[in-house]
């Protein structure tokens, strides 16, 4: 029998990282160095410490990564316990990110996980630039959109409008619902970004108000009547809080009354919660499958040890088992992962005027914009300290604030008003000053 290898914790992973292969990524350079570099230098951020996030942290910690951080604004609830396996009953009420990080570190020695108990928007953009790969375990389209925009904002294009490889911030993204899920790889500038294929996530269908008010037909209509119409009529000014059990009970009672009035069956407390909170059913097994697929892709991107998923995997276990890989294509005009929105300016335009312009620009439509230039805050709407520090810039010409650079990229964060919906967002803006040497009409034609 062949000689046995000395005991190693990465006994199994070593086979993949230390041995050459033929079906591997183009950059694969197998060896001890690769394994050690992965442990020492690869930094992965896990966004979300819920059903997917818990799995991702465990999977990454057991896939050769030692420097992990996790960000989540939520606290642990009892309904998490059927799948978020890092949490116990006694943890209910504690921040998810902190408990998840602690549990994985207790179990897997040598792994360091830094938790961030806050909203994703609370972090500077530069915080996200610190990671090699971002793994998304989220359940909301808005949050995915935000992180996607942040990761894409780091992408720079060369003078031929080709993306610069060293500025690409890869992401892996997972999502589940019941027995179904998806895992995808996003390499800004190479694959479609989240925004390029936003049509994959159709907006949630809402009931017309006249149906709720006049012709309710099913239990959900009665519940939404109580939640969206009756609540405001009765509680003038008091906002409905879905996490307040008294509020939920009130909506349930009203929905029952309305259902009785119209002879409609089926209003239950459980359904009331489901409709009002838009609860998506979730189970451990699907989260495990999707998170592990995302982790494998993270490992492949970081090490090149195998080919990567190109670029979207769907999993459906409802009727038998169906998996499918789809290669979606990039939207070359994408406002988020493209070269950026081109804005032409006079050199005299002040920062304040520029911020006002962003509200009107049809491709930006951003209010309350904060502006950064190469990581430097030109103007910050919040917190108050920063606002005060940067306020004096408002009256200065943007051209001067950009060190008289004829053409460069700025980042704007603020509220994006799109289709009557407000959301936090980030836009990359390519500012070009008119009438400056070196900028020709040819250059301008390439943008937009």
């Amino acid at each position: 029998m062949a000689d046995a290898a000395p005991p190693s914790k990465s006994r199994d992973l070593d086979k993949l990282l230390l041995r050459p292969g033929n079906l591997v990524g183009p950059t694969f350079d197998p060896g001890v160095q690769l394994r050690d570099d992965l442990q020492e230098y690869a930094r992965v951020l896990v966004v979300g410490a819920g059903g997917l996030g818990c799995e991702l942290l465990k999977d990454l910690a057991l896939s050769g990564f030692k420097n992990l951080e996790v960000i989540d604004m939520d606290r642990i609830e009892v309904t998490n316990l059927n799948r978020q396996f890092l949490f116990r009953l006694e943890d209910v009420g504690k921040p998810k990110a902190e408990v998840a990080a602690k549990r994985v570190m207790e179990r897997v020695s040598g792994v360091n996980i830094v938790p961030h108990f806050c909203r994703i928007e609370d972090k500077d953009i530069e915080f996200y630039n610190d990671f090699n790969i971002i793994a998304l375990g989220l359940d909301s389209i808005e949050a995915r959109s935000y992180i996607n925009a942040v990761a894409c904002s780091f992408l720079e294009y060369d003078s031929d409008d080709n993306p610069r490889e060293e500025t690409m911030k890869p992401m892996v993204d997972g999502g589940t619902e019941g027995f179904k899920g998806h895992a995808r790889v996003i390499v800004p500038g190479v694959t479609p970004c989240f925004e390029c294929t936003i049509w994959l996530f159709p907006p949630q269908v809402k009931f017309p108000l006249c149906t709720l008010a006049e012709t309710p037909r099913n239990a959900a209509h009665c519940i939404e009547y109580a939640h969206l119409i009756k609540w405001d009529e009765v509680h003038s000014g008091q906002a409905f809080d879905p996490d307040n059990p008294d509020h939920m009970k009130w909506v349930y009672d009203e929905a029952v009354k309305r259902a009785e009035l119209f002879g409609i069956p089926g209003v239950t407390y459980s359904l009331t919660q489901g409709v009002v909170k838009n609860i998506i059913p979730a189970i451990a097994s699907t989260n495990a499958i999707i998170s592990a697929a995302c982790t494998l892709e993270t490992l492949k991107i970081a090490s090149g040890c195998s080919k990567t998923l190109s670029n979207y995997l769907t999993y459906n276990g409802v009727e038998g088992l169906h998996t499918k890989v789809t290669e979606f294509v990039k939207d070359k005009d994408c406002l988020v992962c493209g070269p950026g929105v081109l804005i032409e300016l006079d050199t005299a335009v002040t920062l304040k005027k520029f911020i006002d312009m962003l509200e009107e620009d049809p491709k930006v439509l951003m209010t309350k914009a904060s502006i950064t230039y190469h990581g430097k805050n030109l103007y910050m709407q919040a917190p108050p300290v920063l606002e005060e520090m940067t306020r004096s810039n408002l009256e200065l010409p943007l051209y001067d604030l950009m060190d008289k650079t004829p053409k460069d990229v700025l980042h704007a964060t603020g509220t994006i008003n799109k289709d009557d919906k407000k959301s936090s967002g980030l836009r990359k803006l390519r500012v070009v000053f008119k009438g400056i040497d070196g900028v020709t009409d040819m250059d301008m034609a390439g943008g937009a």
């Binding site: 062949a2 914790k9 079906l23 099913n218």
Partner: protein, 524 residues
């Protein structure tokens, strides 16, 4: 202890209290608790299965700390089964967890009756010889069995059960059971009482599309010799007719009628899938028939008699633009017919039970009712024995898969997973398991694969060098992320088998983590 209803809320919304009760009654046996087995059980313990029994004879080694979350540094040198069991127990105190420190292979050989106590056995990381033996035992004892194996960047999941029948298959998309093309007297009567030409615009736009289609179909029939639209041209014409009846362009009920008109054109009678089930020889029932087949026999009688070629009505209707009154009344009409059909079916079930010498009330009302409502969605899954799959391969299927670009890697791995077991039987280690002599392992595995392909009747075909190299590179590694995927899939299938809801996979799932073009191979 948390209120179980709250703790399990997110899954109760999927499989309901009945599904949960089935899980809580189930006793699961796990063979080998490496990461594949541990991850499978983790998902089942979280979901609240009744009990788990872990069988593994090995001690925790240093390498296990790098791929298994259910052990930690303090576990080194201890029984792996014991350590995994205690960490799993932490996840859910409602689950009874125990372990047996013994090698599964030994148990299979020395104590086959051990397995009869379980609802289901999850067998992980077994080689072919043990799989065949265990499969024979479990079939004998009527214990459900699922195999799961992780191997480098590949793996497989395979269910082995003689027969699995499903009443609540809960498909995502299924045509509503509205009987528009064959309305029964009460539905027709309801439609007749509503005037499509009502003057009041509010009333006009609140006539449910079911009524519009039933009435318009009758109108069409009178001018077309009693037949419904059948050609593409006629269907288009019918839709134009609907459009012409709109009083205003914003009438959603008419738009819905146009969109739903295909439901009117749908053929009458039962689907070919259901036809196959009622024609199955098991529908000729006797005293040893299962409840499911007794109900199928009754269903067959119903279709031939009272049903007039149709199954019992499902009874639920989709939401549609309508006044509340019309909608609620329509719902009542569908429910009443569904209830009446169910009562007829129940009577037939009781009579059949009597005839085969069983207690006529041995099948509960609720079960017959669910069967009656789901009659169109019944599923029967049967699985070949592992021995049969291995000894009587279908070369034509394999050849087809091997030459199909989308399948070739997955089926290549399927064959190589068998080849490595042959290899291990000959050389006492898996190819590439140790660091020395990789080149020799590669050429030996190649030879083994060629002779296996010959035995499978696929002598003309070869596997690519790249794939064989890759298999040796894997060296039987059990990577955590791959194990989590394989274990996740296995646990999802276990849940479907135990709750008897949804449809389990039929076939061998060959996992391909290289580009994720995994495939369900239809070999069993």
């Amino acid at each position: 202890m948390a209120e179980p209803k709250t703790k399990y809320d997110r899954q109760l919304r999927i499989w309901g209290e009945q599904g949960q009760a089935a899980l809580e009654k189930a006793s699961i046996c796990l063979l080998n608790c490496g990461p594949t087995g541990s991850e499978t059980l983790k998902n089942l313990v979280l979901g609240g299965v009744g009990s788990i029994t872990i069988v593994d004879g090995s001690k925790v080694e240093f390498g296990d700390l790098g791929n298994n979350f259910m052990v930690d540094d303090s576990s080194l040198g201890q029984s792996k089964a014991k350590c995994v069991c205690s960490f799993l127990q932490e996840l859910n105190d409602a689950v009874k967890a125990k372990f047996i420190e013994e090698y599964p292979e030994a148990l299979i050989d020395t104590n086959p009756s051990f397995f009869s106590q379980f609802t289901l056995v999850v067998a992980t990381q077994l080689v072919e010889e043990s799989m065949v033996k265990l499969d024979r035992i479990c079939r004998q004892e009527n214990v459900m069995l699922i195999f799961a194996r992780s191997y480098g960047l590949t793996g497989l999941v395979r269910i082995s059960v003689k027969e699995h029948t499903v009443i609540e298959s809960k498909p995502d998309h299924f045509l509503d059971d509205l009987r528009l093309n064959n309305p029964w007297p009460e539905l027709r009567g309801f439609a007749e009482a509503i005037d499509l030409n009502v003057q009041d615009p509010v009333a006009h736009k609140h006539i449910p599309y079911v009524v519009i289609l039933v009435k318009m179909a009758d109108e069409w029939k009178t001018s077309h010799g009693g037949t419904l639209p059948s050609t593409r041209e006629q269907k288009r014409e019918f839709k134009e007719l609907l459009k012409a009846r709109m009083a205003a362009m914003d009438e959603d009920n008419y738009k819905e009628a146009i969109d739903a008109s295909f439901k009117l054109f749908a053929p009458q009678g039962i689907s070919s899938d259901l036809q196959q089930i009622i024609n199955d020889s098991c529908a000729e029932v006797g005293s040893s028939s299962s409840d499911f087949w007794v109900m199928v026999a009754a269903l067959k009688e119903f279709i031939a008699n009272e049903g007039g070629g149709e199954v019992p009505l499902e009874g639920s209707i989709p939401d549609m633009t309508s006044s509340t009154e019309h909608y609620v009344n329509l719902q009542k009409i569908y429910q009443a017919k569904s209830e009446a059909d169910y009562l007829v079916l129940e009577e037939r079930v009781r009579n059949i039970l009597k005839k085969i010498g069983r207690d006529p009330h041995s099948i509960p009302k609720a079960t017959i009712k669910s069967f009656s409502k789901n009659a169109r969605k019944l599923k029967v899954c049967r699985y070949r024995s592992i021995e049969d799959e291995y000894n009587n391969p279908s070369p034509a299927e394999l050849q087809k898969y091997l030459t199909d670009e989308d399948y070739s890697i997955a089926v290549g791995f399927y064959i190589l997973l068998r080849a490595v077991d042959r290899y291990a039987a000959n050389f006492n280690h898996f190819p590439g398991q140790f660091d020395g002599g990789l080149d020799e392992d590669i050429s030996r595995l190649k030879t083994t694969a060629v002779s296996l392909l010959n035995d499978l009747g696929c002598s003309g075909l070869t596997l690519t060098e790249d794939l064989i190299n890759e298999m040796c590179r894997f060296g039987a590694a059990e990577l955590h992320a791959v194990a989590a995927i394989i274990g996740g899939i296995a646990s999802q299938e276990v849940i479907k088998l135990i709750t008897k809801q949804f449809v389990p996979m039929t076939g061998t799932f060959a996992f391909n983590a290289i580009d994720h073009k995994s495939q369900l191979l239809n070999l069993c």
